[in-house]
Symmetry: C2
Subunit: 234 residues, 2 copies
Amino acid sequence: VNIGILGTGMVGQTLAGKLTELGHNIVVGTRNVAVTLASVTPTGYGALPPYHVWQKDHPKVKLATFAEAAAHGEIVMNCTSGMNSLEALKLAGEINLDGKILIDASNPLDFSQGIPPMLSVSNTDSLAEQIQRMFPRVRVVKTLNTVNAFVMVNPSVIPGDHNLFLSGNDDEAKLDVITMLTSFGWKANNIIDLGDITTARGTEQYLALWVRLYGKLQNPMLNIHIAVGDPPKM
Amino acid sequence: VNIGILGTGMVGQTLAGKLTELGHNIVVGTRNVAVTLASVTPTGYGALPPYHVWQKDHPKVKLATFAEAAAHGEIVMNCTSGMNSLEALKLAGEINLDGKILIDASNPLDFSQGIPPMLSVSNTDSLAEQIQRMFPRVRVVKTLNTVNAFVMVNPSVIPGDHNLFLSGNDDEAKLDVITMLTSFGWKANNIIDLGDITTARGTEQYLALWVRLYGKLQNPMLNIHIAVGDPPKM
């Protein structure tokens, strides 16, 4: 499948690498190709090499503009940092996104006041809803945003069962996304479809707990397993 | 131990019942004793009987005003609904709370716009912090707010390991609270001290996910287990 990945950070690189391994044709989109290739900053605070170094190890992955990557993809993935997502998607262009599945893996984390970050949108709205409102004909599916990039593409790095969530208005799009997630190793039983796109408020705000768990455990390889008992007798 | 429980709802009744069973002396506080006793509305949408019926089954539990319950307690528990907590605590009175451990089990859930509720405070603040600022000499410990009342006092209703969180500025107070939680059946290993009172932002905002999981699963007997893998090699 042709997939466009918006964003050259840790999430973009990791998803591009994994999807290429799985046989898909990937174009990664960035604001300015030359600037991205010139950067010598390691990605993810050193978890991955700078983009131009990573690219040598992933020669099949093409780097292009946001618009070119979106045009290439039958499926498009938003892996930009949440504070920049709306602008990146505008640059990707409605004409290049219309009618497509857009997997939104981003979080509206605002680091401007330090660590842990706050959310730039929360409570009665979510970034996923903002994207859906901006592009009413795009089939937005929010997922993957509750785990680290390494966990996204290799859930077995965390032992045992743990869950991933889906939010979106288009049930068929969600089924296609589940197919991609199971190809990453996610068990279908561990994927919880929370409902429409407004349920992304739940997973985006969960980040407020995630960042504090990360602060406590000093380990980003963390996720939650939803444990359930018998319902109360009423 | 003498414990004051503020709030006559499902959380207040359930904690009062359990703590009495465990041999503690409980006074439950309410705004207006006569009004509470006159109510014929079942508690928790039918999970528990109206207060005056429940009281007959729990003759050792005394009902009194917020101020009397707070004065009685060596430990005080805020089990009021989050939208009313600050006012209830004002009525409880700084003089009756000073220097004491205040366990805050409430959530700032605002149902005024329907279900699922939104949060009345979130992101850059939390109800726990509002309480701590209002009563600087009270030893506020946020906990229990991430689970249903039945799970609070009987974690084994959910099979397997699952976690509870603590937030607070006073380490000794947190140790005393852990002692109470283990008496409810929580394994010490499953209690995660997230840090100071600002970390309550994490557990309060997690409610945005909790309410949607409840909507999806139609079962309040749910909790999360934090699953962790080996840290990435960097």
